[in-house]
């Protein structure tokens, strides 16, 4: 063979090998034949792997003197981390014993028989060490009723959810303090009229009227960081009956407050929002949160049951919303069944979510290149605006609970723990809803399970480890490292809490607060399970068609923020009311 051909062949071989080598990161550790091997495949996403590394290490140590197989002592955990899930079709031939994945449909995997029955683990107390178990609550008791009912199939459990987090707004607390963007005590923009907002938003408004409106606006906000703050969307402050109501103090309580805040931010040289173009479903998830937060947990869950009694359905009069003398939509109550579940698309909370979507894309409200920004760049701009002079300060990022761990590399060494960022508690649409619980939606379907094709020799150690991962200690470890909550019920010890970052503490305070209700986006009735294809969190609520300015019917994707923005760009603006009715007509 000629030298050139040989060279070309070598390059191709090298390239192929390199690409193969990059497929998943498998622990290079050599197999120790004197120990029992436990192989774990973990989808290493935003939450990182530190929590799992720590627990694996502890497990190996705790069971160093235990024999799970004849002739072998101790456990050697071999980890395979990458960002991809293992598809069900690859599991039968897969050597891993335990899988910990994201965005995995439990029922699809179950239907394929790739998950081992782990009812004995779930219906037992969690393992804490060699021959020691917890004694207070069984693992099933740590699951909420919703998870228990979803994960139990014909009386058996095949998997356990990993995390529970919403995708919503995260805000820069330091920036809010520096720019004094918190509402002062008893201040509210509820008296503001549309005309006031128009004047505030317009550059060419009458000078005198604008100055008056600006005075009114500035009077809402604190002058010093030590000033007493408003009570926020929960309408309370301090700790009452063991519930901390101070977390949202100073934050807008209503949409009008929120709009006032956005104008205040822009006037202070702050770009309110940034989001990314890699995962645009974050925007849909945010709006699902807004919808649920306005609709209330019980009413919102009717969507996940495709049934129930809906008490807050907007009444339509022909092709328009029926309104009372004050201009508020008239609502009605209906029993939802198989023949009319499309009526759930008339929930008033959704109409309010669509209003909220429009605030995000109003002039100057978002970083204009968000639609071309990767999620890592968005995080970096949000954390370090000082490094990007053309971008400037940004108040909110649309992100999931994993972002703070995911963005670790963007913090200067040693600064992340005390960096003042926080999940944001959303405002209510109207004043009358102040004080109702903070409702959020956890729409990522995480799952841990044992490979049904696991060799019998490894089953005991796999089940023991899976049980260990559900112990209170393991749950706390997860929260400590990820600043997020496992999808089980547990508390944090003072010791763990004190070790957490500022963000982690606030995130925990919100997630574990009895005033917060987190709804898992799961089909919650048998009927809903049969119609699961309709229940895609990224499209369920907002798909529609509309008649464009040329009179043609066009499909509309499931992302309202993108849709409103596109309509504006096409100079074919649609109102939230039109869009709302279109969604209903599309689904009915």
């Amino acid at each position: 063979m000629k030298t050139k051909e040989l060279l070309a062949l070598s390059v191709v071989t090298l390239a192929s090998l390199t690409s193969l080598a990059s497929c998943g990161k498998v622990d290079e550790e050599e197999v120790d034949e004197t120990m029992t091997q436990l192989r774990i495949k973990y989808t290493n996403g935003g939450f990182g792997s530190e929590w799992l590394d720590k627990l694996c290490e502890e497990f190996e140590e705790a069971f160093a003197d235990v024999s799970f197989q004849t002739g072998r002592l101790g456990v050697q955990i071999i980890k395979e981390y990458d960002k991809k899930n293992t598809g069900y079709e690859s599991i039968p031939g897969n050597s891993n014993h335990i899988f910990i994945q994201e965005d995995t449909d439990y029922y699809t995997y179950m239907s394929k028989g790739v998950m081992k029955d782990i009812s004995d683990v779930v219906n037992d107390y969690a393992v804490t060490g060699n021959e020691t178990k917890e004694t207070n609550r069984k693992i099933s008791d740590k699951m909420s009723d919703l998870y228990r009912s979803f994960y139990q199939y014909n009386g058996k459990y095949y998997g356990i959810p990993l995390f529970e987090t919403n995708v919503g707004l995260q805000y820069n607390v330091s920036l809010f303090e520096k720019k004094k963007l918190f509402f002062k005590k008893d201040a509210s923009a509820d008296e503001f009229t549309e005309a006031d907002f128009d004047i505030l938003n317009k550059d060419d408004a009458d000078k005198e009227a604008k100055e008056e409106a600006l005075d009114k606006l500035y009077s809402l906000f604190i002058s010093n960081t030590s000033d007493e703050r408003s009570y926020g969307p929960d309408g309370k402050t301090g700790t009452i009956d063991g519930v901390n109501y101070s977390i949202d103090d100073g934050l807008p309580a209503t949409y009008k407050d929120f709009r006032a805040l956005l104008i205040m931010m822009k006037n202070s040289g702050v770009t309110p929002f940034i989001w990314n173009s890699t995962c645009t479903d974050y925007l849909t998830s945010l709006l699902n949160d807004v919808w649920a937060n306005n609709e209330g947990a019980n009413q919102f869950m009717n969507n996940l049951k495709l049934g129930g009694t809906a008490t807050n359905l907007v009444k339509l009069n022909g092709n328009a919303i029926e309104r009372d003398s004050n201009g508020n939509p008239v609502v009605e109550t209906k029993t939802i069944a198989a023949n009319n579940y499309a009526d759930l698309h008339l929930q008033k909370g959704k109409l309010e979510a669509l209003d909220f979507a429009q605030y995000l894309i109003e002039d100057g409200n978002y970083y204009s290149k968000s639609w071309q920004t990767s999620y890592t760049d968005a995080q970096e701009y949000f954390i370090n605006p000082q490094n990007h002079k053309t971008i400037g300060d940004i108040g909110f990022i649309v992100e999931g609970g994993w972002w703070f761990r995911e963005a670790s590399d963007f913090f200067s060494p040693g600064t992340q723990k005390d960096a003042k960022f926080s999940p944001y508690i959303l405002p209510k649409a109207t004043k009358d809803k102040i004080g109702t619980p903070n409702v959020r939606v956890s729409d990522r379907r995480s799952l841990m399970f044992v490979n049904n094709y696991i060799p019998e020799d490894n089953l005991k150690v796999a089940k023991t480890f899976l049980s260990f991962l559900q112990s209170d200690h393991a749950l706390e470890t997860y929260t400590l490292y990820t600043s997020s909550k496992r999808a089980l019920q547990y508390n944090l010890s003072n010791e763990t809490y004190s070790k957490m970052s500022y963000y982690g503490k606030v995130a925990w305070e919100i997630a574990n607060n009895t005033n917060t209700i987190t709804i898992p986006w799961l089909p919650l009735s048998n009927f809903a399970k049969e119609h699961v294809l309709e229940l895609d969190y990224a499209s369920y609520g907002y798909k529609a068609t509309y008649i464009d300015k040329d009179g043609k019917e066009q499909p509309v994707g499931g992302n309202p923020v993108m849709n409103f923005n596109d309509w504006n760009k096409k100079k074919d603006p649609q109102t939230s009311e039109q869009y709302f009715i279109n969604i209903y007509n599309y689904n009915k």
Partner: protein, 307 residues
């Protein structure tokens, strides 16, 4: 002149010839038929079967049903399919429009005219560079390099009037070189003596191209057109490369729509999606296959001939 008498064909000889012809035909057809059975029917048997089964996502059971077909004729799905079909046809249309240009450039290179080698290298670059890298470069060039022309970055999730045209340009650029290679290869098979004869008869380059080269490579053109046609429903037009699973609804092609529909993680229950998508695939095949065969036959019947 010595005449040789031909042996009259007897009934037995005719039978023998017929039999051997049948055997030859069977032997020749058996292999592709076997290949079709193994690599299409057997492989796709379950996929085809799925189209006629309704999958229950609660009990995981299936029942024979035509509901997967009916499901595509609803007011929810028809507008989406309409847009996808329109986009697929746009890409097919521009591919057709590009054929004469590709043929001209191929001929230019084939004839080794001025700077032909340079054009050859330039044209083949998209085939040499990895498509993802090419897409990133193109996106950066269009969004940032041409930012003085476009107020909104054309290749982004945000609507821009230039978005689809820019995607079409990329599609053409990438597909162009592949076709070029095939055309040049076909032209090089053209008989030099026929070209020489045409030259002696005083034919211009244009006439040689139209009346000698095109008829000689007509088979190749027909084959490529059949491939393009068959690809109407599978063509993703590089939307996944640019947008992942988030391509805006108005840009989606049938190929992209089908691919996204069965993408794990993009749907709440991928297993159930398989059944529905299978039905869509069968319907599209049933529509497209006869049209493709018809077009092929018409082109072969009415196309230019070498004689």
């Amino acid at each position: 002149m010595k005449m040789t008498a031909t042996k009259p064909v007897t009934k037995t000889t005719k039978k023998k010839i017929d039999r051997s012809s049948t055997v030859f035909y069977c032997v020749m057809v058996a292999l592709p038929l076997l290949q079709f059975l193994i690599f299409y029917v057997v492989v796709n048997f379950n996929s085809i079967l799925m189209a006629f089964q309704e999958y229950n996502t609660l009990t995981f059971s299936t029942t024979l049903s035509l509901s997967n077909f009916e499901g595509w004729f609803t007011k929810q799905t028809l507008p989406i399919l309409g847009v996808c079909l329109k986009n697929s046809m746009i890409y097919f249309g521009v591919t057709l429009l590009a054929i004469p240009i590709s043929l001209c450039i191929s001929y230019y290179i084939y004839k080794k005219f001025h700077l032909s080698q340079f054009f050859k290298v330039i044209s083949f670059i998209p085939s040499i560079i990895c498509i993802s890298a090419l897409a990133i470069m193109y996106k950066a060039f269009v969004n940032y390099g041409m930012s003085s022309i476009f107020t909104t970055a054309p290749i982004s999730l945000e609507y821009s009037e230039a978005r689809q045209p820019m995607l079409i340009v990329f599609y053409l650029l990438v597909n162009f070189s592949g076709n070029l290679l095939i055309y040049i290869n076909a032209m090089s098979q053209a008989s030099p003596s026929v070209i020489e004869a045409a030259k002696i008869d005083g034919a211009s380059e244009f006439r040689i191209f139209i009346h000698v080269i095109i008829p000689q490579i007509w088979g190749t053109i027909v084959s490529l057109l059949i491939i393009f046609m068959a690809g109407i429903v599978t063509n993703q037009a590089f939307l996944f490369t640019f947008f992942g699973i988030n391509a805006p609804a108005e840009l989606q092609t049938l190929g992209y729509f089908i691919f996204r529909n069965i993408q794990e993680g993009a749907t709440p229950n991928v297993e159930a999606s398989y059944y529905q998508t299978s039905a869509l695939g069968i319907m599209l095949t049933l529509v497209l296959a006869p049209i493709t065969i018809l077009v092929r036959n018409l082109m072969l019947k009415f196309g230019p001939r070498e004689d």
